[in-house]
């Protein structure tokens, strides 16, 4: 028998109201809310959330099943590090058995640990193969995510992708739709700039990504524009390719 699943309906309702006010398709948001709640039941996790990158390539909370799940997303956005950030930047499933003892994301762990977020798994959410955000699940106790859970969660991520694609199909000019469209249009140039910075400055992908984001914030520009400038400068200064 499973333990009762702690779901915070007020949290979910608040998220959905905020997004509906933003002009997004309420049907899609309603379905996404149902999807994160179903995820909690299906995978017997404590919480589930969905984030989509904004024009600054910061993962923004869209909907989550409970308050700690929402907090995890807010903390990752603030620190620019964590399993969901890695998942989004590297475009691969990223998990931790226990965030509290994981040395990869110390700032996120120290902030979110006291809220009871221990085992976390983040998976990239993609449209047309382009990563636009992440779906994350967490447990309140350490947990070794096994291969069966990975497979099933990846498949569930595809279900969420199908629902998200409805937002674009609906063509409503809401916040979520704009985020999806911007990410679709600019992800490739951002990836190229990140790859260039990794090679030039010997950075890992997340550091290169955060470098771009900081530069964009300092210049009050969008990350996609700054990434294009980086590539243009590289082309202008580099040797002829042929």
């Amino acid at each position: 028998m499973r333990r009762p699943v702690p779901i915070d309906p007020d949290q979910l309702a608040t998220s959905l109201r905020r997004l509906e006010r933003s002009g997004d398709d309420p049907d899609v948001l309603h379905a996404l809310g149902a999807a994160v709640l179903a995820c909690v039941e299906i995978f017997d996790v404590a919480g589930c959330g969905l984030m989509v990158a904004d024009e600054h390539q910061i993962l923004r909370h869209v909907v989550s099943s409970d308050a700690p799940g929402h907090a995890l997303e807010e903390v990752e956005a603030a620190h620019g590090e964590g399993p969901c950030t890695d998942s989004f930047v590297n475009n691969v499933v990223t998990s931790t058995q226990d965030l509290a003892s994981d040395e990869r994301w110390p700032r996120t762990a120290s902030t979110i640990g006291p809220l009871g977020v221990r085992a976390v798994l983040g998976l990239p959410i993609r449209l047309g193969g382009v990563p636009l955000g992440t779906l994350d699940v967490y447990r309140r106790t350490p947990h070794d995510w096994d291969a069966s859970e990975h497979r099933a969660l990846r498949r569930y991520g595809e279900v969420v992708e199908i629902i998200l694609s409805s937002a674009l199909a609906a063509e409503r000019a809401g916040e979520l739709t704009q985020q999806l469209q911007y990410a679709l249009e600019h992800r490739v140039v951002i990836e190229r700039a990140v790859g260039y910075l990794m090679a030039r400055d010997q950075l890992d992908a997340v550091d290169a990504f955060n470098h771009l984001r900081r530069a964009a914030r300092a210049r009050r520009r969008k990350v996609g524009d700054v990434a294009q400038e980086v590539l243009d400068e590289h082309r202008a200064s580099g040797p002829p390719t042929d």
């Binding site: 709640l37 890695d86 497979r151």
Partner: protein, 204 residues
Amino acid sequence: MSAGRDADGDRGRPIAGPTIDRPTGLPSRSAAGRLESIVVAAAEVLRVDSVGAMLLDAGGSLRLIGASDALARAMEDTQIELDDGPGIEATRTGRDVAVADLARAGRWRALAERLVPIGGGAVLSSPIRVHDAAVGNLNAIARQPHRWTPGEIRAAGAYARMIGALLEGSARPRTDDPVPETVDLEPARAVHPTLDEEARADRP
């Protein structure tokens, strides 16, 4: 500790890997196509052998909306043909129906005679609800007899509720996104009001 960046099958591509010229085009999917894909995905998500789903159509008849494989399709088609089975029961009553051993379930003998020889071992049917009325069902199938656990029943029910939430949007009148016949639910409820009444009467 055992944590790490995990292999992601063939879906993903690391950001530092070979780049592509532009994002690949988004697949053009109709609402019915999206729904079918979600039903097909349910087998892997719920970690069962097969999954199929049926919905009431505009005439009040149950129709197949998706099946993960031939067994699931046969399960749905046979129930529709016989107008009987755990999925039909789930839609009529609005309640989960768990069958641990189809071969021994005398209640659905005709269905068992057709399905057991091709691998139908156990069935778990969850009602799909739209605006609180049961309008279809999601059927999870195990190829061997299997006693469905409370957790499995909750998981399948949650998946069915998510499908219902999707349909609630599709069932609203829209001018820019034609609703496929299989999710045109208002006329179906008008034709078969007893389905709604029975479901409500059985609900605690």
